[in-house]
Amino acid sequence: MKHLLRTLLAGTVAVSASLAASAAHADNYVSITGAGSTWSQVAIDAWRADIRANGVVVNYSGTGSTDGRTQYIQHTVDFAVTEIPFENPPEPGQPAEVPDRPYAYLPIVAGGTSFMYHLTVAGKQVRDLRLSGKTLALVYTGAVTRWNDPRITAENQGRVLPDEAIIPVVRSDGAGASAQFSRYLWRVYPTIWCPFAQSHLGACGLTSFFPTFGNAKSQVGSNGVADYVSASYGEGAIGYVEFAYAKRINYPVVSLLNQAGYYTQPSASDVAVALTRAQINADLTQNLDSVYVNPDPRTYPMSSYSYMVVPTTAASPFNVDKGKSLATFINYFLCAGQQKAQILGYSPLPKNLVQAGFAQVAKIPGTVPSPALSSCNNPALSVLTSAAQPLPCQAATSRVSCDGRTPATTPPAPTTTTSAPTSTTTSAAPTTATPRTTTPGSGSPVPVTSAPVGKTAGATPPAESSSRAAPAAAAAPTPTAPSGGAPAATQLVDPAGAPYVTSVSLAARSESSQNRLLYWLSALVLLAVVVAPPVISWVLLRRRNRSATG
């Protein structure tokens, strides 16, 4: 019955989608089961639906990386997805994880650890916060506790943020995001992280369970963190989530300082560029030390990728037939599936990681051959040549912020505000950048002019910034003036048409006149309340008495 139904369904799809070639063997595929990372779950769910049209049934349950690894050890799943390798030696207080069936690690999808924040200045949400990894390390170890800390001010071109407490939000459940963040802190800032980790965890290393400290709040799940930060009581909060969670509710994420001195967003292309320096250890685990300090100015430093743990022998519950399904699935998501990953807020895997993945697919029993790189439809294979360079205003040394504010204490006139970044955009070529000599069509300044849309935090939703990745931006036929200066200038103006400071004071003035009206109204109501009830009751009583007597 089930078999019949599946065949029927697959048949229908094959006809309608004209996927005859691959669907002819639809009934040959055996369903496979996996569990693990919630971090990668959205991407896997999308790939599962895509590959299902070819007859491969993938059952994936997002029970968390730790559970995924445990289930792999317990032989209850065919594959597991996790952000960190099997823990041997384990984290403090956890048992060692030693699977008794052979396995290989395979990169599946990349992403940047994004820091979503909720900060309001004069009734207006701050959308262009810039921080370095060091400042974040200090925030997440309890050393920097106020938003007006001079170290934060210095990174934001002298702009003083309000005197509010920083509420760092961490994950209370065992999370890959916590592991990725703590690994960054551990590898890059051991002098800050290790004393903190020693006192809270008893050992210096990465942890899936980020300790709570000082003012920190812990929340379950990325959606819990995103909900806390975006809630009305979340003013002053900052939390690490997958970029998609911030993007969905149009919340800003921190621009992080990279080795080249640019503050970048965790966009798909900047993460992919960073991961081109990812190295793979002899035991197939990832080594991101060179990713964190990648000298490319387009690097988002806190980038990482998650693994799939695949069996390399046909030990139960795995077998050769399942190997065929699994290999087909993996070959799909390493190539065309990576486009979907980008849409869902992840970053596509760059070439080096795709090749590493193909090498592992070959070890799966019953494997099918991987496609050649030339026919692999992965958008990030040539990310190094196609990714757009950062704007000059993103540089640490820039005196002009990306939304056109200058750090001067006096509010600039509108004309200077708009012209300042324009001139820098057009005249100053990115110093460390390799000139974009790429596919025909993107040699023009198209990516440059489309970039400010995403980079101008506040003017447009950050959804734009992910589309900045190479093929999408290059393919988009954007009619632009050859100089590229004019469109950039118009985009850099505040949508309200007024510079930042002026719009705030205007809003404040209209608020105060509204207040006066409300004060008067309330005074009138109070007066009515004091006077009316005795009068009404007096009238009512008199009427009742009159009707009783008369």
């Binding site: 369904l9 369903s31 779950q41 769910d45 959606n223 109204l521 004091v530 009404i536 009783a548």
Partner: protein
């Protein structure tokens, strides 16, 4: 003489005076608290504002009523307001929960395909006019039916042991059953996972989920059934025994028929308790987007698990689908409770008297103790 009773009647009905003093107190408190709380004092916030408003409202209302009435009437009015507010708050919380879920899920629910298709072929970001919760609904119905099949005979048997047999272990069993109602539901899932999936090597499936749900459901059915059986009057049992019936016959022909409508309620309460449980099935059912009619093999999704999975996705359509599934689940629970009320008929006391009369008549007229009533 005519004056006094008419005045008394008026205090309990709605008068212009009552309405105007209520409205005036409410508005006055609103203005006062807004001025004080939001403007003059350095405080702000929704919750604090409304709490202060309510306090000020009560105080003002007491003052306003006190202008014309004596102290007794004032306290009467205040008590009336406080108790109606309590009821109103409870009701509005319920309304808010249902309304919130239905509102968030409406975009998904109003598509017919939401109930007739599965999510096997669609990803998390697919439009809402494709895919739906059919597989999850099938899973929920099968798992709940299976767990009912397991736990109801066991639960009622336990209740009979506790209340009719009254064996040596009755006290111990009762304590265990009571303790079982208090265990966190995740433990039921962990227990079945450890015992059935890991030790016996049984795969994650609908049956494993049903076992976990049955563990959760058993103490509720047993406890409620025991309470229901306790309400069957002893006179019936004594009469039955006096007529020469054995204990088994007494239970089968007197006690159980008497308690039948209430036993149905007990079962439905148990069902309603487990139908929305997520944690026991989290570890035992596995997750799939495929339609799986077979609870014995392969992972099987259910409504709570589907909602729990989809709501965590950072994709709008997936979240809407999750709320749609939650709305469907709410509807299912509502349906169950409504049918429980209908089947159980009127409150227990009433049913008991009617049953007693019918049974008494049957015992009195018939020589053999049959359940059937010869006369209409």
């Amino acid at each position: 003489m005519t004056n006094v009773p008419s005045a008394r009647v008026r205090t309990s009905s709605v008068t212009p005076e009552l309405v105007s003093s209520l409205v005036a107190a409410a508005l006055g408190a609103l203005a006062l608290v807004w001025l004080l709380y939001e403007r003059i004092l350095p405080t702000s916030g929704m919750l604090g504002f409304w709490l202060c408003w309510y306090t000020a409202f009560l105080a003002l209302y007491a003052v306003v009523v006190g202008l014309t009435q004596d102290r007794l009437a004032v306290s009467d009015r205040i008590a009336a307001v406080v108790f109606s507010t309590a009821g109103l708050v409870l009701f509005s919380v319920l309304l808010l929960v249902v309304g919130f879920v239905v509102d968030k899920g409406w975009d998904a629910v109003h598509h017919w395909n939401f109930f007739s298709e599965t999510t096997a072929l669609i990803g998390p970001d697919a439009p809402l006019d494709r895919g739906g919760i059919y597989a999850a609904a099938v899973g929920t119905l099968e798992q709940v039916a299976l767990s009912t099949l397991i736990s109801v005979p066991l639960g009622i048997a336990t209740a009979l042991y506790l209340n009719e047999v009254r064996g040596h272990l009755a006290g111990v069993v009762r304590t265990i059953v009571e303790a079982m109602t208090a265990i966190p539901s995740i433990l039921a899932g962990l227990f079945v996972f450890a015992a059935v999936v890991l030790t016996l090597g049984f795969n994650r499936s609908g049956l494993a989920a049903s076992l976990a749900l049955a563990v959760e459901m058993l103490p509720i059915v047993a406890r409620t059934s025991e309470l229901v059986l306790r309400l069957v009057p002893n006179g019936l049992r004594e009469a039955s025994a006096a007529l020469g019936a054995s204990q088994w016959e007494t239970v089968r022909r007197v006690v159980l028929p008497t308690a039948r409508p209430s036993l149905v309620t007990a079962v439905l309460l148990g069902v309603a308790r487990v139908v929305g449980e997520t944690s026991p099935i989290l570890l035992t059912a596995g997750f799939t987007n495929e339609l799986n009619y077979d609870p014995l093999h392969g992972p099987q999704v259910s409504l709570p698990l589907f909602a729990f999975t989809e709501v965590r996705f950072p994709v709008d359509n997936a979240i809407t689908r999750a709320f749609g599934a939650a709305a469907a689940l709410l509807l299912l629970v509502l349906l169950l409770f409504t049918s429980a009320r209908v089947i159980a008929g009127r409150p227990l006391g009433h049913v008991r008297r009617r049953e007693r009369r019918r049974l008494a008549r049957a015992f009195a007229t018939a020589t053999d103790p049959t359940r059937q009533v010869p006369t209409a």
